[in-house]
């Protein structure tokens, strides 16, 4: 059996035609006298051939939406777009799409600024800086659905995929609020839900954090950070935040609606 142990590390390279000629000769010689190792080689070779036979069916195609989002990223990260996109924008009459693309690089600027200006400490101000950066970044890839999704469906999908319940506020025409999508926030710790809305033609984010960061009170706190306004509060084990650009009139009212529907 000691000879089997000597040969054993060579069997997989042998199957893959990656063994050196001398190693190959050693394995060949051993296999002639060892039915057990022959069986190992046969089983590995059979599975390898099975993958060749099934390769086409194992390949999957990414969705058109994912492709679009990934294709949008090089442009968003291009340094040449940073300065033009950081230029002041008109404060009124902005179309939805015209607001969208602050660049990824701009996001980095915001995130770094958040760290330097507000430190790494927890609390509403640090959290607001982090969420402001994420809000800008995620709306680079904002979906533009022709049919608005159903909040309950997105909530169920989230619960099934993430393992915790999420109440998603519905589209509310009276408030001028339209639900676009629910995504996992990739900038935070990976467990935060990012509910993306269009509010009076502007991007509006609702964040729902599974855990309860320290020093977040139950009363809504309004924090202006990095050109974005965040209204943050906690309830039970969850922490919530509504983030918009600037300080638009009526934000408190829509935050109230979100609070009533999300908690």
């Amino acid at each position: 059996m000691s000879e089997c142990r000597d040969v054993e590390p060579l069997l997989t390279p042998f199957v893959d035609d990656e063994a050196a000629p001398a190693e190959r000769a050693t394995v060949d010689a051993h296999l002639r006298s060892c039915p057990r190792c022959r069986e190992y080689v046969t089983s590995e070779r059979t599975v390898r051939q099975a993958f060749v036979v099934c390769r086409a069916s194992l390949h999957v195609n990414a969705s058109a939406d994912l492709r679009r989002r990934c294709e949008a990223q090089p442009a968003a990260t291009s340094a040449s777009t940073v300065f033009t996109r950081l230029l002041p924008r008109p404060s009124s009459g902005q179309a939805w799409r015209s607001w969208v693309p602050l660049s990824m690089a701009a996001t980095l600027v915001l995130a770094v600024a958040g760290v330097f200006v507000y430190g790494l400490s927890s609390g509403p101000q640090a959290l607001a800086a982090q969420l402001a950066a994420d809000h800008v970044k995620c709306f680079d890839f904002a979906p533009t659905p022709t049919i608005l999704p159903e909040a309950k469906v997105l909530g169920r999908e989230w619960a099934a995929a993430r393992g915790w319940a999420l109440k998603v506020p519905e589209t509310a025409p009276v408030e001028g609020l339209e639900l676009l999508a629910v995504r996992r926030c990739i900038s935070a710790d990976g467990t935060t839900a990012h509910l993306m809305y269009r509010w009076r033609g502007q991007p509006l984010s609702v964040y729902v954090m599974k855990s309860h960061p320290p020093r977040i009170g139950t009363s809504p706190t309004i924090v202006d950070r990095l050109g974005q306004e965040a209204i943050i509060w906690s309830k039970g084990e969850r922490t919530y935040a509504v983030v918009t650009r600037g300080r638009p009139d009526g934000i408190e009212r829509v935050a109230q609606y979100v609070r009533a529907a999300a908690e």
């Binding site: 142990r5 099975a50 990414a62 990976g190």
Partner: protein
């Protein structure tokens, strides 16, 4: 596109070539992400994160090396970080997959019988999903994405010897499951990566 994902040397004007070639691996990255996460939404998040990091770090990519392997390395690193931050324990096998895998009906004893089995596609996918993660990754990267041992070692950050061992063990577990379903209950556990010959 250059073979095996190797970009030619150059700067500046190669940005578009870098982008185009990187995006040409979208389906491969998504397929691998799906095998890792087993949830389409997680897989999409993972791939989007991967491209985000790749395009940010384009300057760090060494021209003339394998872009596909570089992207897969980012994908696996991102997956590890994602899972570390995820509140849930990793899915190794969901109960449905185990049930389906247990129902595999193959009793083919010869390679020829197995390879011509009508349900081979389905059976192989189920058996693959039932493999422990380390073996599934290694076998997938080798037998589907056709990376070299050295490339896989770099992607998953383990020694080459470990890669070969995982490929070997993974294939044998798959073979056991395909040929004699139900006799290998250990497929859902993390078998030892150590000695396979006795």
């Amino acid at each position: 596109m250059s073979p095996r994902g190797v970009l030619s040397t150059g700067t500046g004007s190669d940005d578009r070539a870098f982008t185009n070639e990187a995006l040409s691996y979208l389906d491969a990255l998504y397929g691998t992400a799906l095998r890792l996460t087993r949830r389409p939404q997680d897989a999409e998040d993972l791939v989007q994160d991967t491209y985000l990091k790749a395009f940010r770090a384009e300057d760090q990519f060494e021209r003339g090396t394998n872009l596909k392997a570089w992207l897969f390395t980012i994908l696996h690193n991102t997956f590890r970080n994602m899972r570390r931050h995820d509140g849930r324990s990793p899915i190794d096998v969901n109960s449905e997959t185990v049930e389906q895998a247990a129902d595999l009906t193959g009793d083919d004893r010869t390679p020829e019988q197995l390879l011509t089995r009508a349900t081979l596609d389905r059976d192989l996918q189920l058996a693959l999903d039932a493999l422990p993660e380390a073996f599934r990754q290694a076998v997938w990267l080798r037998d589907v994405e056709e990376f070299s041992y050295a490339e896989i070692a770099k992607i998953v950050d383990v020694p080459i010897g470990t890669v070969m061992s995982r490929i070997s063990r993974g294939r044998r577990l798959l073979h056991d499951r395909l040929v004699a379903p139900g006799v290998n209950p250990g497929v859902n556990k993390e078998p030892s990566e150590k000695a396979r010959v006795g």
